[in-house]
Amino acid sequence: MASKNCIIETKGLVKKFDNFEAVKDVSLCINEGEIFGLLGPNGAGKTTFLSVLATTLQANGGSAMVNGFDVSKSPDGVRKSIGMSFQDNSLDIDLTAKENLWFHCRMYHIPENQINEKISQALKLADLEQFADREIKKYSGGMKRRLEIVRALMHEPKILFLDEPTLGLDPQTRRALWEKIKQLNQEKGMTIILTTHYMEEANELCDRIAIIDKGRIVALGTSQELKKSVKGDVITLETRNNQAFAGKKFKFVKNTKLHNGEISLTVDSAEKRITEIVLFAKKSKIQIDNINLKKPSLEDVFLHFTGKTIREAELSAEGQFAERFKASKPELRAR
């Protein structure tokens, strides 16, 4: 039974490309009116997951309901409820900004007498008024990004999907966009689902965050809850003999992870434990090159659940892609 306040609900959702499962058995409930973040490295399946929800890809298994509509049975109902800004360009590069916005208003049946007003608002919001009549092919990457996002907001959808909204934006623009997203959420009660690689963005914006890795949701909760699940602070060490540290069973260490020439120890009250660690190093004659104490961040949460930092996960995902790329059929590559 669908719970009342899930505006988006997926059950065992699967999306395959040939034999490769890009989304694996995802079950998720997104509440009405929340800002929900999907955090994960390249190739985690974020875009694929959103595309299934937005009806541009069809699922191979499981079910997904968006605003009470089944994505496979009534895609038109879903499309009427959503707005989406894509990770890659979806503007018509031969048209000007104004023409692109006009087209969007028409597709979403915005009344004729409001269209001009809407277009000027959107251009103002994107800070692109001077470039309104310039063709998109002459736009910079950041300008396109901005236009793409304001376009998705124009028809004030009930549910807004933003795929990597701030990728490639300069810091001020990114801040301004965060404010806008919060404002839309608070004033219009818009449900917003966004994907990101940036820990700080998820932390700053999202009511709840799902960490997604290799097509699976590995953790879900508020940023506070997720940080708590790491259960403690993290001491990061770089030593000449990390193995020795990993082997040593400190009583107070809850979790030890070796990765990328560093060792991470999860402990409570790290301030007090750090001396014991240094003493152990001294006794065992292991030189410490670097020692670091951190209160948990989402980065650590990611590490905790996947055993990798987000950077490492991206590198291995790229490697995996390269393999698949070589093996894939030519028509896949042409896309």
């Binding site: 937005a54 009427k80 989406m84 979806s90 503007l91 023409e99 969007h104 597709m107 979403y108 063709e135």
Partner: protein, 247 residues
Amino acid sequence: MWNDVFTLAYREVLILTKIKIRILGLIFNALIWLVAMGFGLSPLLSISGVSYFAFLVPGMIGINLLFPSFFGASTLITDRQFGFLKEMLVAPIPRTTLVLGKALGLSFYATVSAAMVLAFSIILGFQINHWWTIPALIGIALLASLGLTCFGLALAIKIKDTQSFQLLGNFIVFPFFLLSGAFFPLDQAPWFIRYFSYINPITYAIDAMRQITLGIGHTPLILDLGVLFGFFIITLIVAAKLFDKSE
């Protein structure tokens, strides 16, 4: 729905008119065909009592319809490559409307190209007996073009790169072009040419245009129009179905 069709069609036309060289290309194309074929051959021939030039005009209109209609559909592939297709696909617009809108825009352009051939022919001495034959010719051109663009779109949905589309398109379009009764009357042609011509929708468009301008033809006008309309509806449905499945 008609509003959406209009918006989609308008976008197609807007893009096509932005590329100025295309318009020049259209005019040049129309002239070359008429002058080379019409004046080159007409002193040598006369068919069913009309000059070869007059015989050729409806054929030239049909041919100048075929190319922009069919190859215009490759813009669907570029829409996909540059990402704009995604914007159309998440919009709350049925796939049939998307196909119809695109087809109408491309057909409008193709029909303008056909109308240009007509205009040049009249300047060069093609006789029009009644004023209404002009809108009638344009109507037939538009109807034929809608079917051809939908046919092209159905292929463009399946074929995901422009080069393959052009290549395959040439294989398809050239027989359509040569075996359509544009250049010679079909009743004197060998049976295999005749049979192929009768499955070629362009044949019916040219036949209809010859009947209303010259009063000569092979099949009844009503059959011509019926075939063109049927071809349009079938290709529209097929393209929309394929579209629904593939995206």
